[in-house]
Symmetry: C2
Subunit: 417 residues, 2 copies
């Protein structure tokens, strides 16, 4: 088989050529390519579903957890959603060429900052085959070439999805190598991507802790980090009990396998309905592990151990801690959170604003479910992921996060002198 470093270098050269071409394309040409890709996804939906069935069967045989199987599944509805997502991206405002700001200096030099594509984006992902389409659409619409490296468990789904996309792009006259799929599940290919400084401009890892840890340990290219979501909902004493219950149940149980799911519930000791809230969560099918104060409210409640507060369950399990007001909630989140998404349920605006200001997470929400942590829900179209790092882009990353900018100065002969 091909040496992984040589493979990535060759894919990178093709990607660079494609990126240079994509960077100069007008919005309509990119959008047409995405619409053609969406049409191809729909036309090839049966083939994609068949490929996914192969992956699901293998994954079931290997005993993957329910959450992981849910991530892997591509049924007809999800394929249709994937195509609709690609089309939605085609309809978004093109960030490339946008003037961020413009100024004329006292010497007459006209300066503007203009958005430009980043270049070549590497996406390293696991489990969710829909990333293939989401990432392709976002990268191409933002004028970037993409090198996709999906997980071995989704190999057939990814190949079928990529084939459909490539067919659509080709039909619309986009560069053939605008989106490439690494044609091997050899893990050394990941290493080669991470070492490809100057070849790949940005790597976006999407996956579990071990993948992200590997990427962060090895990467010699810039990384947009997508760590886990140890997300909290804090229910303040001032919260409306019905709203608190609705938000907590949604945040935990709507989909347990997504990074925006609540993992830890913090309840103000002054919240009168604490016991009923915990029981409601348990009655809805969630395994609840409480601290001693929570257990005192709900007889028979399992006791959380120290590791629970730092665990992303991605399943119908939640830890529950009783806290003394918003400051203790903020402190708990600072100690145990992952800077992803945290929410407060409160009627008191002063308490809510204190939480929104002091909690240092990519997304902070007041009286809304953490499951809104999603590029689509934020109006960004499909997302590459939720960035939990602090630089370049934070929270849901979509088109704008896949661009950078350049300074353009127009003068009339100015010198510093």
């Amino acid at each position: 088989m091909t040496d992984p470093a040589m493979l990535i270098a060759e894919m990178g050269r093709s990607a660079r050529t494609a990126a240079t071409s994509l960077a100069g394309l007008p919005t309509a040409r990119k959008a047409d390519g995405l619409r053609a890709a969406a049409a191809a996804l729909r036309a090839k939906a049966p083939a994609i579903a068949d490929a996914n069935a192969q992956d699901m069967a293998a994954a079931t045989e290997r005993g993957l957890s329910g959450a992981l199987l849910d991530r892997l599944r591509l049924d007809e509805g999800r394929i249709a959603a994937m195509a609709a997502g690609v089309e939605a991206v085609a309809g978004l405002a093109d960030p490339v060429g946008q003037v961020i700001d413009r100024t004329t200096r006292p010497n007459g030099l006209e300066l503007s900052r203009v958005r430009v594509p980043i270049g070549v984006i590497g996406i390293i992902y696991e489990s969710r085959p829909n990333v293939t389409a989401d990432a392709a659409a976002l990268c191409v619409m933002a004028g970037n070439a993409a090198i996709l490296r999906g997980g071995s468990e989704a190999v057939h789904s990814n190949a079928a999805t990529h084939a459909a996309l490539a067919q659509g792009f080709a039909a619309a006259g986009l560069p053939a190598d605008a989106v490439q799929l690494v044609p091997t599940t050899d893990r050394a290919a990941v290493g080669a991507m991470l070492a490809a400084d100057g070849v790949i401009d940005l790597v976006v890892p999407r996956g579990g802790k071990s993948l992200v840890a590997r990427v962060q340990a090895e990467a010699r290219v810039p990384v947009l980090a997508h760590l886990d979501g140890i997300n909290h909902v804090y229910v303040d004493a001032s919260a409306d009990p019905a709203m608190a219950r609705r938000i907590v149940l949604d945040a935990k149980l709507r989909r347990t396998g997504i990074c925006g799911a609540m993992e830890t519930l913090l309840i103000d000791r002054g919240f009168a309905d604490a016991g009923a809230l915990i029981v409601a969560l348990r009655d809805a099918g969630c395994e609840v592990r409480g601290d001693d104060h929570a257990a005192a409210l709900v007889p028979g409640l399992a006791i959380a151990d120290a590791a629970d507060w730092d665990t992303e369950y991605l399943d119908a399990i939640a830890s529950v801690a009783m806290v003394d007001g918003v400051e203790q909630a903020i402190a708990h989140i600072a100690a145990h959170g992952s800077h992803h998404t945290d929410a407060i349920v409160a009627d008191d605006p002063a308490v809510a604003e204190r939480f929104l200001t002091a909690v240092d997470s990519a997304i902070v929400l007041w009286n809304a479910s953490t499951q809104f942590a999603d590029g689509g829900e934020f109006g960004l179209g499909a997302e590459i992921g939720i960035a939990t790092g602090r630089l370049h882009a934070r929270g849901p990353v979509a088109l704008e996060g896949l661009t950078t900018y350049k300074w353009i100065g127009r003068g009339t002969g100015q010198v510093r002198g």
Copy 2:
């Protein structure tokens, strides 16, 4: 002596506490701190000049080049400029709290992106002691704590400058550890900073290739890369000869030791005054190394070798290549440039716009000197540096580049359902 990792961990803890405090300070408090620091720099100017004289004497003895000595020098004028720079930053708009954008989703969820400080910034720099004041001012005004690690050649200058700043900050009631200077020139301290993942949120290296190479090879923390400036001026056939001469001489010779200086001159073969332009550069005291076509125009011109096209001289030396129009200039810059600052001199707007679009550099200029590549000249106040990477911030990095953002969502009980 203290273990460097322990030293940095301890400085990091103090910095984090200071950063949390700084993040919540109103603009006026931060600005007062900077003004007090500027006053302290002025009051302590003689002490700073004395300290710098020690460093200059040692550097001269060690035979540092003229360009490096120029970078190291802190005369009265430069100390005054440093203080004025700190004051200028105090007068800039505070990015913290700025709402980047705001939207209401169809479900009523109000979303906004709000600028917040990055947290703890590590600055690793060489030679230029004015970075101590520039970096401190910018970090603090943007609500960040700073850990500064200057070069051993400027150790006295940096300590005296830092002492003045700290005195000013303390007088204005800013956190004592808002800006810390690593109290050792042990190179292992740099390694400890680069390994301080979770302690330092961003490292900004400012220095020569070997420093940047080390930082990029070792860093486990995000890096805002400041590579060298292999900057080009392309003189198109349509250029006004007098303007071309004025811009080329300024770009190369105004200050040869700064990263915005021109290193390579590209002249369109259709530019009638090519020979006279090269002679003017030589007559102004610049050593010129030309390709064969340039040498054919100017008898006795030294011939450039392959390495010249990839060299940042930082001295009164320039390479000159003749090219066939703007496309060849673009190709030369793509092959040899460092994505820093490149300029075109041209009367033809179509040619100029093609250059501005196709040259993939942080700063592209039309009819202006590359020496404008400077945060102050761009109206940003003092700069941390010119970023040649593609992510987070590009070109001159000042206050905005030292912030990130968070998403704040305000709802009325919304769930995904």
